[in-house]
């Protein structure tokens, strides 16, 4: 256990505060925006800026605290970069599919409208 210098603590504090502010902005957008497709955008702030700020702060702080290079907090944003698009894409397809089922007028049609004369229902 080493003593962490003050400038490192200042940088870590700055990164954490930035992450907190971005997460609040994202949650506010998620709460206030009308419509599901609009609401899908603000959480991307949390998934990218929020997680990267916290991971960088953790990397810096634990590297200085333990006196060795501690890169493991960076695993989390890398892992999220793989998993979050899958979830988001699935949920977007869910919303589009249910909208089509509800028969809203301004819904875009499927890219492949007909397949062998049979109506294609999968989104």
């Amino acid at each position: 256990m080493n003593a962490v210098p003050f400038w490192v603590e200042a940088v870590v504090a700055l990164l954490l505060v930035a992450s907190g502010l971005f997460v609040v902005i994202a949650a506010l957008g998620f709460l206030r925006l009308p419509g599901f497709f609009l609401r899908m955008h603000p959480p991307a702030l949390t998934y990218t800026v929020g997680s990267w700020c916290v991971a960088l702060a953790g990397t810096l702080y634990f590297s200085m605290l333990e006196g060795r290079l501690a890169l493991h907090p960076l695993l989390i944003p890398v892992f999220l970069a793989i998993t979050v698009p899958v979830t988001t894409l699935l949920l977007a397809r869910v919303a589009l599919f249910r909208r089509r089922l509800a028969g809203k007028a301004d819904t875009p049609p499927p890219l492949i409208a007909k397949e062998g004369g049979e109506e294609r229902t999968r989104p």
Binding site: V17, V23, I76, L90, L91
Partner: protein
């Protein structure tokens, strides 16, 4: 730990708490099922951030593994719920 970092961590945790309450309101109010699933996914993620910041507060590496597990379970559950709404069953 200097008071600066301590108060910064307290402020960050307070921000996360406010954000969690906002997302919880959307989870309870969300007009359709996909809104609720997305809100649950975001809540999982904010809980993971809380765990990470608590790890920095206590100066312990152990919290990192908990955060990784929460992220993993959040992904699996959100993908499973989205698949269930989409197709009516999780594994076909």
């Amino acid at each position: 730990m200097s008071p600066l970092l301590f108060y910064a961590i307290a402020f960050t945790l307070g921000c996360y708490a406010v954000a969690c309450v906002m997302v919880l309101v959307r989870l309870l109010r969300g007009p359709r099922a996909q809104d609720r699933v997305f809100a649950l996914d975001l809540l999982y993620f904010q809980a993971m951030l809380v765990v990470l910041v608590t790890g920095i507060l206590h100066g312990s590496d152990r919290y990192f593994e908990v955060a990784l597990l929460i992220a993993l379970f959040g992904f699996v559950s959100s993908a499973g719920m989205a698949k269930f709404i989409l197709r009516g069953e999780v594994i076909e």
